[in-house]
């Protein structure tokens, strides 16, 4: 099993979710995060005092998939999250040692 993690632009979440559901992935975990990379932040001004805000709001999504689906799921996410502009984000995969469904106790690929 693989954990697929993606950091994407918040307004692309809908597109990514739809694309994943079409592919056959019917669940994911989403968090609101901040990040910066090549995308520049912005400045704010309060009564003449200027501040630089480097961090840009992003959405992080996590989903555990079977080994054989990992490469395809990464491609699905990348395609759906892309705008072609700086700040589109990144997607990566890491191995998962254990997976358990809390309600039933199912383990391993049965818990996917």
């Amino acid at each position: 099993m693989k954990l697929i993690t993606a950091v994407i632009k918040p307004f692309k979440l809908d597109d990514v979710k739809s694309a994943l559901e079409t592919f056959g992935v019917h669940g994911l975990t989403v968090g609101e995060v901040s990040g910066y990379g090549r995308q520049k932040g912005h400045t704010e001004v309060y009564r003449g005092a200027e501040y630089q805000v480097d961090f840009v709001p992003k959405v992080r999504l996590d989903v555990v998939v079977a080994d054989e689906d990992a490469a395809d799921v990464v491609d699905v996410i990348v395609k759906a999250a892309s705008t072609g502009q700086i700040g589109d984000g990144k997607v990566w995969a890491t191995p998962v040692d254990q997976l358990v469904r809390v309600r039933t106790g199912e383990r391993g690929p049965d818990a996917l």
Partner: protein, 406 residues
């Protein structure tokens, strides 16, 4: 004395409007501080209402508006405890019950003290502030009110004009704030650390409430319902509007952006500037005074960075500087009596008010800091006042995750 129902209804209503300005100030300031300190700011304002109202009733009203003790410097204690509530207020020929006048003026004392929470933001001790506010009302506010607002006061007798508190409230609070900033010292991390407003929506709502209440503050100071109140009302509105425009115009030119905080601040700056003048100038003069107030404000708030004093929420810049501008402009724009002589008297009032307010506030603040303590310890300041001092969190969006004790 003859009590006029219309005048009384207006003055009582105006008193309530002025009271509302202090919760409005709590929102205005509250939005400007960091979220870890918003409750502390708000409860200090509530506390100011409580402590100053009590002190006013017990002693400060009499010191301000009681029969003069000699020389036009201070009132006697004859009206202490709001005694003789039906006797005409010394020097006045009011058509409203004296108690209504006392209540109206109470709200002025309250908000003037409350303004000082803006200077001490993020680091002032709650208990210390309450003690400070009580002493300050007696030693700083009451004498200046007597000099300017009481017909037996020495500045009033010299012909100084202050319709609703340019000296008594605005310059007084501005100069006091400067002294308080010196005694308190800079916030930990100021000016390099980020101390941006956490909720400008709160600030804008607060500015709206201040705007609304200011009609009571200014038009209510006519102490009657009629032509003068109407002029004061209109002048107040026009100045608030040109204050906003003046601030954001300069801001846009200087920084490239017209900001929401700038607009809200400009409204206040215009209102501050017109406060001494509102019943004494015509409408077009009010436009000008408000505009110059806005321009003064946006420029004056930079002074603290240049001179290195941490007047956290710009009481010196917005209330002090704009109050001085309005008070002096009144000398040349008054409908009756404008000219060099009046300007000279206005300037005298400005100087005397600044000198008294600064010196006595410094003394009172120093005393409180040495005894009860006026500033919280550094670790408390870093952690945040709300959780440490008040055992509360302002915003729980499921992120606080408290568990019940005991």
């Amino acid at each position: 004395m003859i009590v006029d129902a219309g005048d009384t209804a207006w003055v009582l209503g105006a008193a309530a409007l002025v009271l509302f300005m202090t919760p409005g100030l709590a929102l205005f300031y509250g939005g400007m501080v960091r979220s870890k300190n918003v409750l502390a700011m708000m409860v200090q304002n509530l506390g100011a209402i409580a402590i100053v109202s009590v002190v006013w009733a017990i002693v400060a009203y009499s010191l301000a508006f009681g029969p003069d003790a000699g020389g036009g410097f201070i009132g006697t204690l004859r009206l202490a405890g709001l005694a003789h509530p039906n006797a005409q207020v010394p020097g006045y020929h009011l058509t409203v019950p004296p108690l209504a006048f006392a209540a109206f003026q109470m709200m002025f004392a309250v908000i003037t003290a409350a303004l000082l929470t803006g200077t001490g933001a993020d680091r002032m001790r709650f208990s210390g502030f309450l003690v400070f506010a009580a002493l300050w009302s007696i030693v700083v506010y009451a004498p200046i009110a007597h000099w300017v607002f009481s017909p037996e006061g020495w500045l009033f007798k010299r012909g100084v004009l202050d319709f609703a508190g340019g000296n008594v409230v605005e310059i007084d609070s501005g100069a006091s704030a400067l002294a308080l900033a010196f005694v308190l010292g800079r916030r930990h991390g100021w000016p390099r650390d980020v101390m941006a407003p956490h909720s400008l929506p709160l600030t804008v709502v607060g500015a709206g409430i201040l705007w609304f209440g200011w009609f009571g503050f200014n038009a209510g100071s006519a102490l009657a319902s009629g032509h003068v109140a109407a002029q004061a009302f209109v002048s107040t509105q026009l100045a608030a509007c040109t204050g906003l425009l003046g601030w954001i115009l300069v801001e846009r030119w200087r920084t490239g952006h017209a900001t929401t905080l700038g607009a809200a601040s400009g409204v206040v700056a215009g209102l501050v500037a017109i406060t001494p003048a509102c019943g004494y100038v015509n409408s077009m003069a009010a436009l000008l005074i408000g505009f110059l107030g806005g321009v003064t404000g946006v420029l004056a708030v930079s002074a603290k960075f240049r001179f290195g004093y941490d007047d956290a929420l710009d009481v010196v810049g917005v209330h002090g500087a704009c109050g001085v501008v309005g008070t002096l402009l009144l000398g040349v724009l008054a409908m009756h009596g404008a000219g060099a002589h009046l300007l000279g008297e206005q300037a005298l009032a400005v100087i005397v008010t600044i000198a008294w307010a600064f010196t006595l506030t410094y003394a009172v603040a120093w005393l409180v800091e040495r005894s009860v303590g006026l500033r919280v310890p550094r670790q408390v300041e870093i952690e945040g006042l709300d959780t440490v001092v008040h055992a509360e969190s302002a915003y729980d969006f499921g992120n606080v995750r408290a568990t019940r004790m005991g």
